[in-house]
Each structure stands twice: as C-alpha cells, then as structure tokens.
C-alpha cells in the first residue's frame, strides 16, 4: 500500500483528482492498515495546527513593532527622487480631474484649449518639486522625530521662516517627523503628528509677507483644515474630516509656533 502513502496527505488536503480520491477511499475501506496511517496523519496535522496556533500567542517584541512604526515609508534618502509614485499618481489624477471635470469657471473665457493650457502650470510645479527636492539630498523624504532640533534648523532654513515644532501632547498628538514639500513654487514645512488611533494630523508652514490676520476653517477632499497666519508665515493644520479637535490643536500650535 506504499503507493498510496504519499497520496494520503494530498487526500487530506483535498489535492487529489476525483478519480484518485475515489481510489484512496476504496483502498481505505478495505485496508485497516491504510486507515490507521490516515488517522495518524490526521492526528499529526491536528497537533501541528495546535502548535502553530500556540506560536501566535508569543509576545511580539516591542522593538520590532516600533521599528516598523518609525520606519521611513518611501525610498531611502540620498536617492534623487521627487515625491513618491503614489503622490505623483494622485496629483496627476487631480490634474486630469481638473482638466476633464470642474474648473469651467476658471477656463471660461481664458482659453479655448483648456487641456493644453493646463499643462504648463502642472509642469512648472513638477519642476519646482524636483528643484527643491534635488537640493535636499539628506532630507529627501522624511526626517524622524528623534532629530527634532535638526528638523527645526533645516526647515527654517529651507522655508525662510522660523519653524518650531509645537508640543501637541496635551492634544493627544505625538510628533513623528517632518517633510519638505513644495507648493506654489515655494517650500513648505510639513510636521507630522499621530494621535492615539494612529491618525495623522499635519501642521504645514509656508513663508509669506502677508500672513492671514485671522483663523479660517475649510474642508477639502475629506480633510478638515484650520488656517492662520503669524509672523512671516501662514500655517495650516490638516486632519481627517470631522475629527472635531482641529480647532483646539490649531490654537495650541498657534500659541507655540
């Protein structure tokens, strides 16, 4: 009966053809020895499953989870690369949506060929992204919270406005790190925080000679924003739509920046 031996496991796993399975079933019916083998394999399988299930209860080392939580998410620094592919795709999609969909008011009376006309602004911004990122060989994508002092110096120099990392722990937010963005052809400091539920809140800062005199609220693309100005910069706090505490966060940040 050794010819069936190896097939017994495949039989257990439902990996035999109907014909082969029928053969095994017939052989099992007439061969108590084979049946015993099958039962011992099944018992072994049950034991293995229990042992494997037991492994799931092993304590996951905190350091391992922390290493993943703190890991940079894009390509390693020093690789000359502008924003990630996902960023590009989403941005490209946004531009396509602009060209195809809305923006009628904007394009009306401006150009008969909106699709061509929209391209230069987009390309200019691409160039701006590239220009700024390319000069940031060390800080291409993200700098971790453990280099807070460095982030402040680096972003202040890059943005042209003093960047301070506000302590938002009273608002339940933990500082995770910073990125440098480009918007409207200007560098933007982006400080990333997460709350207890790992939701991200970003504080962005852009230099301007005419800062907003007051606070403003907006909801755009499923994100709530609170905007304000101070000194020589405008600030915006961005978070999930409807989280409700952005005002308080903005007030707390505004008192510290």
């Amino acid at each position: 009966m050794t010819e069936y031996d190896e097939k017994l496991s495949a039989f257990l796993d439902g990996e035999l053809s109907e014909d082969e399975a029928r053969d095994i079933e017939r052989a099992l019916a007439s061969d108590p020895g084979l049946q015993e083998k099958l039962e011992s394999l099944m018992a072994a399988d049950t034991l293995a499953k229990n042992a494997f299930a037991d492994m799931l209860t092993d304590q996951v080392p905190v350091e391992l989870a922390a290493a993943i939580q703190d890991a940079p998410v894009s390509s390693p620094a020093n690789t000359p690369r502008a924003p990630t592919a996902a960023g590009w795709l989403a941005a490209a999609a946004a531009v396509v949506a602009l060209m195809v969909g809305g923006a009628a008011g904007y394009f009306t009376g401006v150009s008969q060929n909106t699709q061509v006309a929209a391209a230069p602004g987009w390309l200019d911004d691409i160039a701006d992204y590239h220009r700024v990122y390319a000069s940031q060989s060390r800080h291409l994508v993200e700098v971790g919270a453990d280099e807070a002092d460095h982030i402040e110096t680096w972003l202040s120099n890059s943005v042209g406005s003093q960047v301070r990392i506000p302590d938002l722990s009273d608002e339940g937010l933990t500082f995770q790190g910073a990125r440098l963005l480009v918007a409207a052809g200007k560098p933007v400091a982006q400080l990333m925080y997460t709350d207890g539920d790992a939701r991200v809140v970003a504080l962005c800062q852009i230099q301007t000679d005419t800062p907003r005199p007051d606070f403003g609220q907006r909801t755009i693309n499923a994100f709530d924003m609170v905007v304000w100005g101070a000194r020589n910069a405008n600030f915006v706090i961005v978070g999930d739509e409807g989280r409700g505490d952005l005002d308080a966060i903005a007030q707390s940040a505004a008192a510290q920046v």
Binding site: S9, E15, L41, A91, A94, Y106, A183, G216, M225
Partner: protein, 206 residues
C-alpha cells in the same frame, strides 16, 4: 496666459479654497495627495504590525531561530514599506508579505552559502532533525513546537502554509519555488515525522 503659481498667497488661498480657483486647487491637491500618501503608508504600517504574529510564525518556520526570525520579519517589513507603492491593496497583505519574507530568506541563505563556500543540504536529503530536543517524557506542546521547528529545511514552513495558512499545493509550490510534487512529498514527510513523534515520543528514543 500665465499659469505659473508665483506666490505663497496663492497656496494659502488654496487652503481657504474656492472651487473656482483651480490654479491653487491643483497645487493644493498635490499637497493633499502627499498627506494622503502618508495616511496610506500609515495604514500599511498598522496592518503590518497587526500581521506580526503570523509573520513571525512564518519566519520562524523558515529560519528555525527566534532571533533570526525577528530580524527577517523586520527586514521584510522595511522592504515592504520602502516598496509600498508596489503593493496592490486589493490583494491580501499576508501573501505579499510571505513572499517578501521568503525571498529575503532565500537571498540570505545564498549569501551564507557564498560566505561558507558550501551548499545547503537539500530538504529531500536532510532526513535528520536539525536539533532534536529530548528529555521530556510526555508530548508537551513545547516539545511538539521544538520538533516542528526542528524539521529539516522548508518542511515546517510548507506544512504551515498549506495546513494552517490555507495555501493550495500550487500556491505553495509558487511561494517556495518548487514543483507541486515536491510540496506533496514534503507535506507528507512533515506529517509522518510528527506522527512518529506521537507513536514514539522523542524522549523515549534515547
């Protein structure tokens, strides 16, 4: 016709956006896309951390060493995060991660072979358990775990993927880069080895 955004105020105007101000809106969309990407990668981190127990189990079945398993898992997660744009969220994360983990382990084994100047014993030839633990006279769960982890190369990992993780033989063959027939024989050898353990506990052999 000037489309270049020149002033920070345009960007700021985008923040207090008017729907009819597309010049600033598309810049803002760029900015939001960047934040969204951060959200997505944060989700990936959260999902990876949730997957850690199963990833560690799989890595352990490959490496048969707790320390090496954790190193391997960490390396695999960092690899996944650095390539998060390659992840198709419609596909199961566990399968993607098992593949990355397995590939990293294979390349680690190859590096070791080069360093040591010797080949790995093929699982078909490696009939001995790697480090059979003895001393227990009952088939305690701990002993069984040791036995499973001591199974020769790939046997316990293949058993895990098929018997527990629900891979078909064809899927396991693809993951481990071996023929389906080899999956079948290795699964069988793994179970037979465990069945022998039940019939004749390891401690009783010595």
């Amino acid at each position: 016709m000037e489309f270049v955004l020149k002033s920070a105020d345009h960007w700021e105007a985008g923040c207090i956006a008017q729907a009819d101000a597309p010049l600033t809106r598309h810049t803002l969309d760029l900015f939001i896309a960047d934040i969204r990407e951060f959200f997505l990668s944060n989700e990936l981190k959260r999902d990876l951390i949730a997957l850690l127990p199963r990833l560690r189990r799989f890595a352990r079945s490959l490496t048969r060493s707790a320390t090496e398993a954790d190193d391997l898992v960490q390396e695999a997660c960092l690899r996944a995060l650095s390539r998060h744009d390659q992840w198709d969220p419609t596909q199961p994360l566990d399968r993607w991660m098992f593949r990355i983990t397995r590939n990293l382990w294979i390349s680690e084994i190859r590096k070791r072979q080069v360093r040591l100047g010797q080949g790995q014993v093929d699982a078909e030839d490696a009939t001995e358990l790697v480090s059979p633990e003895t001393g227990e006279d009952t088939l305690a769960a701990r002993e069984l775990r040791r036995h499973i982890e001591a199974l020769p190369e790939d046997l316990s990992a293949i058993l895990l993927t098929v018997s527990v993780e629900g891979y078909s033989y064809a899927e396991a063959a693809e993951l481990f880069d071996i023929p389906i027939g080899t999956v079948m024989s290795r699964i069988h050898r793994a179970r037979k080895s465990l069945a022998q353990l039940i019939a004749e506990p390891v401690g009783a052999k010595t």
